[in-house]
């Protein structure tokens, strides 16, 4: 019987609150901001390794341009994931929209009409995804895996599998990505970064300030309860897919502008990075929901890693290995700290 030693036990218990308060505060801090702290650590590391080139305004503007395309896809993907779905077809949609615009330029179609057609194919593709998932009831995985292949095939078909470059691409397209908003004589905020910023603001307002966004969170949180509360669940999910399709198409055009060429597979890598960014971002919310600020952090982690590792002359294959490990690490760490509490 341990009843005899109750005085010491009691003493221990009285000390407990301070200790628990401290550790609670720390774990909450780590859980909520752990990913962000990790991000700061990564920055600090590169800063210490490349003090004269990494932490400069020029390099940061460069990073924002490098991540701008991924940003647009990841931001609209956040919307889809808030609604409890995901979309595997964004990469091939980005390829399709870019190559479609380029094919139209080859045929002599004017710039505005071809851009509209490229965004239009994104809206249509998104609509098709949304109809399959929200109305026909296919799982998002199966439906968008199918459309991934479908869009990819369409991109290869209309371009005959060839890269379009050189004079077929209107000069204005390439000029756009090199231009921007002059901050000082030497520094410009690139146009592509501006598009990413604009997308951020729009999606942020949609998610936080509109009825649509608030209710979409409910749909993602509990679809059946939302349905029984009379929420038009299918329509909300459909719209998320449509917006995401448009986001992917815009990203595809940004990619063409940046490279001044179009290739029927050049956007394919975007999908995994976009979903990874949203997942990394989800570790930053208390309830584990997708959130735009988190997604932005996720995208920036990927962007800073790639920029910093390139400056350190780390091989791109090794970069990929490190990026994969860091994504897994972030999500794993947040899971472990959640289980711990």
């Amino acid at each position: 019987m341990r009843l005899n030693c109750s005085p010491t036990a009691k003493g221990f218990r009285e000390k407990l609150p301070d200790h628990t308060k401290f550790s609670m505060g720390l774990t909450t801090l780590i859980r909520r901001y752990g990913t962000f702290l990790g991000f700061l650590l990564i920055i600090a590391f590169f800063w210490s390794q490349r003090p004269e080139t990494f932490m400069t305004a020029r390099n940061w503007l460069n990073i924002t341009q490098q991540v701008s395309i991924l940003c647009v896809v990841a931001f609209t993907m956040t919307l889809v994931m808030v609604g409890g779905d995901f979309d595997l077809s964004v990469g091939s949609m980005a390829s399709l929209s870019g190559i479609l615009a380029a094919v139209l330029w080859q045929q002599g179609v004017e710039l505005p009409a071809s851009l509209a057609a490229a965004v239009g194919i994104g809206l249509l593709g998104g609509l098709f995804n949304g109809l399959l998932v929200a109305y026909a009831g296919l799982s998002a995985f199966v439906a968008t895996l199918g459309t991934l292949t479908l869009f990819s095939g369409m991109a290869l078909f209309i371009s005959d599998g060839k890269t379009i470059f050189g004079r077929a691409i209107p000069a204005a397209v390439g000029v756009f990505s090199r231009g921007g908003w002059a901050l000082t004589d030497a520094l410009t905020l690139p146009n592509l970064t501006l598009i990413a910023l604009l997308t951020f603001l729009v999606i942020d307002v949609v998610l936080r300030r509109t009825v649509y966004g608030r209710v979409l969170y409910a749909v993602g949180g509990n679809r059946e309860a939302s349905l029984l509360a009379g929420v038009p669940v299918a329509r909300l999910r459909l719209w998320a897919f449509v917006i995401n399709g448009a986001g992917a198409a815009i990203a595809g055009l940004m990619l063409v502008s940046r490279l001044s060429s179009a290739n029927p597979t050049q956007g394919d890598g975007l999908m995994l990075n976009a979903i990874a960014s949203v997942f990394v971002g989800m570790t930053m919310s208390e309830e584990g929901e997708p959130n735009l600020f988190g997604t932005l952090t996720g995208v920036l982690i990927l962007g800073v890693l790639s920029n910093g590792l390139t400056q350190l002359r780390v091989d791109t294959y090794v970069q990929q290995i490190l990026t994969g490990l860091i994504i897994i690490g972030a999500v794993l760490f947040s899971r472990l700290s959640q289980r711990h509490s």
């Binding site: 019987m1 341990r2 009843l3 109750s6 036990a9 218990r13 407990l16 609150p17 628990t20 308060k21 609670m24 300030r209 509109t210 009825v211 649509y212 966004g213 608030r214 209710v215 969170y217 409910a218 949180g221 509990n222 059946e224 309860a225 939302s226 349905l227 029984l228 509360a229 009379g230 929420v231 038009p232 309830e287 584990g288 929901e289």
Partner: protein
């Protein structure tokens, strides 16, 4: 009777909240002990400590008279204690036999190839020990009802690995929540059989009547402290309820104070669906109509037909006008619904109380362009919160942090948001503790006195009789009886539900 396991001064805190504060519990061989308490009293924490899932901050324990170190429970309880939880943890795609052996070593040839017939005969044996003979071990669990699934869950606690000692203590956590009366009887017979073999059983339940019938001793927890313990025979149900709630229970069911109106709100004629056969009834303003019946009699299906979730034929009239059910229009027409499963079907648990209470109405408050008017909505949510008396930190609190009773109140906040003409309730007090139950009864009465017609499905006969003006007894999808509740006894209503009105007379 020998004490099998004694726990002393069990302390447990989560963060700053003390959940258990010096609890003692003595479990004796050959005895069924009841454990009661409101939600949040610390029952589940105690069970989790007992089953070794959770470590206590402080604990002294004795097993069969021998003092044991505090870590003993964590290492030994898997071998000696079997816990049976209220939630079903079965894999629907596997057979009865495979589910019984889930997580245990299945008889297999060479350790790899499952010996199906051997497994199935062992399963039949294990079930027979429980007196269950109507289940085919080969049947897929997805084809079975909730009651049979519970029996399988129970059965799996009695399956042993070849070299495992037979468990000495069984802990059952609300096992009867989804059982039919006949299945409850079967379970009780099994438990009495175990008791006769000298096993010790800890029976956790909200249902007073069951605890009084079954247990030898009874322990009541409140706010992490044992407030009452003693032989069940020497306790009255009133003492137990008062110990649980910490206050005197005066009148259980709030009485109607206004006269009944005769204005018909809802009129249903010959409603027929897959599970319903020409059901007709009408419902007046301010009336509470109960739907009684056994599981599978079509009670919830009638609500689903009204919601427009299940297709149905027949004619409906709402306030005298022809009406068609449709889920997308339902809430807009000032109709409200509180589903049976508040976690799965009612609330978005990871969202705020505010969002959950205005969810069906959000788009109505959207300004041009769909902007959400935050302040007015929050003010309305605050009003709703005050109206139903949620106990919590505020409307921005996430719903998963609330207790069952408070979650249910959030659903009432939603349901009463818009002064509904008709409110559908499906098991409004399931899994809710005694104190919260009382408050919910008050809310239902209040809603009905404000003129809302209430249609309420419940398996608790007491509350049907106490609250409702009339009760419809459904039998296999038909209206078997329509009874005024005045002067109706529980025994009579039960007999009607089971289709034996002769015995009730």
């Amino acid at each position: 009777m020998d004490p099998l396991l004694k726990l002393h001064s069990v302390h447990k805190r989560f963060g700053t909240a003390s959940v258990l504060r010096g609890v003692s519990l003595e479990l004796r061989s050959g005895e069924i002990q009841g454990l009661m308490g409101e939600n949040g009293a610390g029952k589940s924490t105690l069970i989790r400590i007992l089953s070794g899932v959770l470590g206590a901050d402080e604990l002294a324990c004795e097993f069969q008279g021998q003092p044991q170190p505090p870590e003993w429970l964590r290492s030994e309880s898997k071998r000696r204690i079997r816990c049976i939880h209220q939630e079903l943890n079965l894999v629907p795609g596997l057979s009865v036999a495979e589910n019984l052996w889930l997580g245990k070593s299945v008889p297999a040839w060479g350790g790899a190839f499952v010996l199906r017939s051997r497994l199935e005969s062992l399963a039949a044996e294990a079930l027979a020990q429980l007196g269950v003979t109507h289940l085919n071990p080969r049947e897929k669990v997805s084809r079975l009802g909730a009651g049979d699934r519970m029996l399988i869950q129970l059965g799996s606690a009695f399956v042993r690995e070849p070299n495992e000692p037979e468990a000495q203590l069984y802990v059952l956590d609300e096992p009867t929540a989804s059982l039919l009366p006949s299945e409850v009887e079967q379970l009780f017979a099994v438990l009495k059989h175990l008791k006769a073999q000298g096993r010790s059983i800890l029976y956790v339940s909200h249902r007073l009547e069951e605890v009084f019938r079954l247990t030898d001793r009874l322990t009541v927890l409140r706010d992490g402290v044992v407030v009452l313990t003693g032989p069940t025979r020497q306790l009255s149900s009133r003492q137990v309820v008062e110990a649980m709630t910490g206050r005197q229970v005066l009148q259980q069911f709030p009485k109607r104070t206004l006269a009944r109106s005769t204005e018909v709100i809802l009129d249903a004629r010959e409603i027929t669906s897959q599970k319903l056969k020409s059901v007709s009834f009408s419902l007046c303003q301010g009336e509470i109509l109960g739907l009684a019946g056994l599981g599978g009699s079509g009670r919830s299906e009638l609500l689903r037909a009204l919601l427009g979730v299940d297709p149905s034929t027949g004619t409906w009239a709402l306030e005298g006008k022809a009406w068609k059910p449709g889920l997308s229009r339902f809430w807009k027409q000032q109709l409200a619904y509180i589903p049976e499963e508040r976690r799965a079907q009612g609330l978005v648990l990871n969202q705020s109380v505010a969002l959950n209470s205005h969810l069906p109405f959000t788009s109505r408050y959207g300004k041009a362009g769909g902007w959400i008017p935050r302040q007015p909505l929050e003010a309305l949510a605050q009003q709703a919160w005050d109206r139903v008396g949620v106990q919590g930190s505020g409307i921005t609190q996430r719903c998963w942090q609330l207790s069952g009773g408070n979650q249910q109140k959030v659903l009432f906040a939603r349901a009463t948001w818009d002064r509904p003409r008709l409110l559908l309730l499906d098991e409004p007090t399931r899994g809710v503790d005694v104190g919260a139950k009382q408050e919910i009864y008050g809310l239902i009465r209040q809603v009905s006195e404000s003129g809302t017609a209430v249609l309420m499905v419940s398996s608790e006969l007491e509350e049907l009789i106490g609250l409702c003006d009339r009760v419809l007894v459904l039998q296999q999808g038909r209206v078997g009886h329509e009874l005024p509740t005045e002067g109706l006894s529980e025994a009579q209503l039960l007999a009607y539900c089971q289709g034996l009105p002769g015995e009730a007379a």
